[in-house]
Symmetry: C2
Subunit: 452 residues, 2 copies
């Protein structure tokens, strides 16, 4: 197989070097690394097509790999085979400012795209924290702090180019803002984690950089008060751009790591986007509303530097928390619930965490009903692992019971596979049929999303 | 077969009465009516399941029918069989104000839903003009005047209950605002026009009724100036709630039908939603911007009654235009384009219309890149029909050539079937595979979306 790959790829595109294979054996999760048999560096769509043809011929798994920032083991080649590195496909092919659209290759990172967009006064809003690749973000339906205002990847991908396991290249979606023509296939590939096809091109929505951005911090006596305040704000329709809950342990991690001195109490970080006048009104309404919900302080970060520092702090919250426990790894829960169920779900997580004999912190994209519990574990200690997994399971089953989902944004990968049937019930069978239809030999990231 | 149907349905639920069959033989389009063999009035999900089992057994088509307001022949049973009337499933099952969600049966109309939501201070925004059923709106991915602000059905359906041709009932989607769990199946059924399953339940997003709503009318010397002005507004991110272009012929129709006296020149109708203060600023910015683009008058409709009258007028624009030509029927084009391509596409349509020897008017949801040309034809005159279809084809091919879609909101039905392969290219094959997978006997609305 490797000989066949090198027949059409240059020598440096095909590697069995142990350290290169090691780099492609893991992501940022706690899941056990597995070495691929070979790493292939794709430079073009036609490379991907040919790799697929060879892989099908030899019935060898193909696992797309990009920034490696996934959190549930998506990019780990658990059945070996080819790790298909997409980071060489990193061209921004077209920026169409008048259409608020860009056409990119999958290895472009979100920071690289935003850097290129800046001179047009545009930005791409989806922000999972990590400097992930846009192909990987589409493959997991990534979202993050700005989703409350701008939506997840699903709302911001207008069209995709995908290489199917048959080697066929298809384009799905339309550059038009809406369409009632044919079946909507784009959403099927978004969040499919490389199990239905390999994304080789993306057309994404971009937005004008807001005239003004203002950040604020609000503190609350109890975590539950913070959740109640944010759900009340969602009810008003005030267009907050970010609204993030952090618990005292998360703030402590940030202070430790970023040398900030934020009060170590339950806090909501806000960001507002808009014109100067409309923002002043929005912020005033938010202040009134959260004061009613028991907010004890509301600090507006007036200057750009303070605003950036606040969001840098929020972005690194998991890393920061972990930095206090050298040598430990993270297990992060990721449930998302209907808004009305969020307060009880967070309260439940908070109580379970207090009973748990592991360091943990809570942080959440509460405007979307999504929150995380970050646990620091010793991956070599089976007892830690077992406790963390049992905790995760309690959080997941509670969320599904309340009408929510086991993963709001991190994806299924290996970690959420066992909850797919419970969450999706009767539609899980249809998902399996789609997988079988598009990948009859089960070579596309086998063992992810759909159990094999 | 009819005997088997009456075994589990009450007598009045199964009808072969000629006038009832005639009522279910057509929609609001120019497409040739075809009588179903039998009309079944579904009262529950279990009725639908049993009808499906009988239909599969006898290999008889099942064509869902609701308000009958479709514009491309979707509900016409072109291969005979069962017209499955869903209007008896008209219960609003649950209103969850804290989640901004409602659970409805498919026969609930959008006006009935909005009536029920009013006392909660909520509304459902998708507004195709007609008082369509919500099941039918999901089945065609309906949109309309408010889509520029609130999205189409695709953005506002969170979860669906669907009866498959196997008789299996599945739920797709999640009540959570976002999810990265499993494949996104909801979007596959939205816009599938009853060809993949029958929708028996919907969970929809609803919104708080805006504090203030203001309407305005802006006039322009040329249609193209109006298009340019609206695309410029889209660039600023000002959150207009509606932005509708109408040409002089469309305004003339409205004046004739509604006894208004709007100036019969190219006009853009606006609606703004928000707080009183933010609206004042938005409107002022819009006024400045469109003045630069050559706007010759800008009239704000201050009171509620004038606002309502304006949108009533816009809603009936096709009926109003047609009312001037008694006995004629409408053929309406429905292309949607990337914003930058819209001015040339409208200009092209305008020129073609001037050369065409048929009465016609242009109206468009220009903020989305979607516009309609309404033609009044004599359906019994083959010459009219041929001219109108040739015109439609020119508009469609021009839109596809410019990166757009053959139908922005009306759907494929019978009228856009022949453009599916051209528009979707290589992904059309995947659409066919999905159809075959879910409906192996081709009994679900056969001959629509996918050619059989």
């Amino acid at each position: 197989m490797i000989k066949e790959l090198t027949a059409f790829l240059s020598e440096e595109q095909v590697s069995v070097n142990p350290s290169i294979r090691e780099q492609h054996s893991h992501d940022e999760s706690y899941h056990t690394p597995v070495l691929p048999d070979v790493v292939v560096f794709a430079k073009s769509r036609s490379d991907v097509v040919k790799v697929m043809q060879v892989a099908v011929k030899h019935r060898v798994p193909v696992v797309p790999f990009a920034a490696g920032s996934s959190l549930e083991g998506h990019a780990i080649p658990i059945r070996g085979g080819i790790s298909l590195d997409m980071m060489g496909m990193d061209k921004i092919l077209e920026i169409r400012p008048d259409d608020f659209l860009v056409h990119v290759e999958p290895g472009v990172t979100r920071e690289a795209l935003n850097e290129a967009l800046k001179k047009y006064g545009l930005f791409f809003p989806v922000d999972p924290g990590a400097n992930a690749s846009l192909g990987g973000m589409a493959a997991t339906n990534a979202s993050g702090t700005t989703t409350v205002r701008y939506g997840a990847m699903k709302e911001n991908v207008r069209k995709l180019e995908v290489v199917l396991s048959s080697g066929e290249v298809i384009e799905v979606g339309s550059l038009a803002a809406k369409s009632s023509s044919g079946y909507h296939l784009t959403e099927l590939f978004i969040g499919s984690e490389g199990t239905l096809g390999v994304i080789t091109g993306l057309w994404l929505r971009v937005y004008g950089i807001p005239e003004t951005m203002v950040a604020a911090r609000a503190t609350f006596p109890r975590l539950e008060d913070g959740v109640a305040a944010t759900t009340a704000i969602m009810g008003t329709g005030i267009p907050v751009a970010r609204m993030e809950l952090v618990d005292p342990a998360a703030v402590r991690g940030v202070n430790f790591y970023k040398k900030t001195n934020y009060p170590e109490i339950p806090t909501v970080f806000f960001e507002f986007h808009g014109s100067r006048e409309s923002l002043a009104q929005d912020i005033e309404r938010v202040r009134e509303m959260i004061t009613e919900e028991g907010c004890t302080s509301f600090a507006i970060e007036h200057n750009e530097e303070e605003r950036r520092r606040l969001w840098e702090a929020r972005h690194v919250v998991a890393h920061a928390f972990l930095a206090q426990y050298p040598g430990k790894r993270q297990i992060v829960t990721d449930v998302c619930l209907p808004l009305s169920a969020l307060p009880q779900a967070v309260e439940n997580a908070h109580k379970l965490l207090e009973q748990l004999d592991l360091p943990g912190a809570i942080a959440g994209h509460v405007g979307d009903g999504n929150f995380h519990t970050i646990l620091a574990i010793d991956p070599d200690n089976p007892d830690d692992m077992q406790k963390a997994e049992a905790f995760n399971e309690q959080i997941v089953l509670d969320a599904i019971h309340r009408g929510g989902t086991c993963t709001g944004e991190h994806g299924v990968g290996s970690g959420k596979l066992k909850y797919q049937r419970t969450e999706h019930g009767s539609s899980y069978r249809m998902m399996k049929s789609i997988k079988t239809m598009l990948d009859p030999f089960n070579i596309l990231n086998p063992g992810k999303v759909i159990a094999d």
